[in-house]
């Protein structure tokens, strides 16, 4: 209707409970949705990994393994750009900068590696976290399926010095 709006080819909004078996389910859903944009095997694998990290974090950290928590996963496809948002209404993150550091984890006793955010950041082109302590966390990430490595859609293979 309005001009200049971003062309949105498809979307999904999914609500699932915070159960660990839904980690695999969320990956299947996103992979099936993304398939419309003809990603490569590597691209789809990266996206599945990033989604798995975000949903697992909502379950373990956001809801501290309480399965009555609710996770919202939404995805939009505009041309070959996939954007994914994972929302929980859990405990939230006090210090997002610290949380994003590689190897930082607040739950070493659960053998968390502290690599979740690092993987999301490295496997996707765009990545952001917004969190309010006591209210929840929203992770937004995007990937353009153009055959290039993540994080550098304009200059494939060009990042290394």
């Amino acid at each position: 209707m309005t001009s200049g709006g971003e062309r949105m080819d498809n979307y999904l909004k999914l609500e699932i409970p915070a159960k660990s078996r839904n980690e695999a389910f969320a990956r299947v859903v996103v992979a099936a949705f993304a398939a419309q944009a003809d990603p490569t095997i590597d691209e789809i694998s990266d996206v599945k990994t990033a989604v798995s990290e975000a949903v697992t974090n909502a379950i373990i950290h956001g809801y501290e393994n309480n399965p009555s928590g609710t996770i919202l996963l939404s995805a939009t496809l505009a041309g070959r750009r996939l954007e994914i948002t994972v929302v929980d209404y859990g405990v939230g993150i006090e210090d997002v900068e610290m949380a994003r550091q590689p190897l930082y984890t607040s739950k070493p006793e659960l053998e968390r590696s502290g690599m979740g955010f690092t993987i999301m950041e490295n496997f996707m082109d765009e990545f952001s976290v917004v969190s309010l302590p006591g209210q929840g966390t929203t992770v937004t990430m995007a990937r353009v399926f153009d055959g290039s490595l993540p994080g550098k859609p304009e200059q494939p293979y060009g990042r290394e010095a």
Binding site: S20, R21, E23, A24, R27, D42, S45, K48, T49, S52, E53, T56, I59, I60, L110, E111, R112, S113, G114, M115, G116, T118, I119, N122
Partner: protein, 117 residues
């Protein structure tokens, strides 16, 4: 994920099939630790031949076993990594701690060669 765990001498061979995520890692961790508590087991070899997906939770489970086994003087090895699994191994620097082999036999040969020498 489906798992088959066998003892080969002092080494526990963990053969996995499917996706190694938090859900799968939680169950597998307990299974391995129960076996590790048993008698003569010293080392653990993770065979990734049929694993097409691993995320940081799988990574954390492998790293956790590495720490536990090393404390008791044993070794953790991995073999047959497919590209998506290798990617996560490398991003997390796991390849610098855990020797990775092309096949299960190469990994076992390396262990047994080490024992002889």
């Amino acid at each position: 994920m489906q798992v088959r765990i066998r003892a080969k001498g002092e080494t526990l061979v963990v053969q996995m099939r499917g996706e190694l995520d938090h859900h799968a890692a939680t169950g597998l961790r307990m299974e391995i630790d129960a076996k590790l508590a048993e008698n003569k087991i010293k080392n653990v070899l993770f065979n990734f031949r049929d694993v097409d997906f691993m995320d940081s939770s799988g990574f954390g489970m492998i790293l956790g076993r590495y720490k536990a086994v090393r404390e008791k003087g044993g070794k953790v090895l991995a073999c047959s990594l497919r590209p998506p699994v290798r990617r996560v191994f490398e991003l997390g620097g796991l390849t610098s701690r855990i020797p990775v082999f092309g096949t299960e036999q190469e990994a076992l040969d390396d262990l047994w060669g080490g024992e002889d020498g």
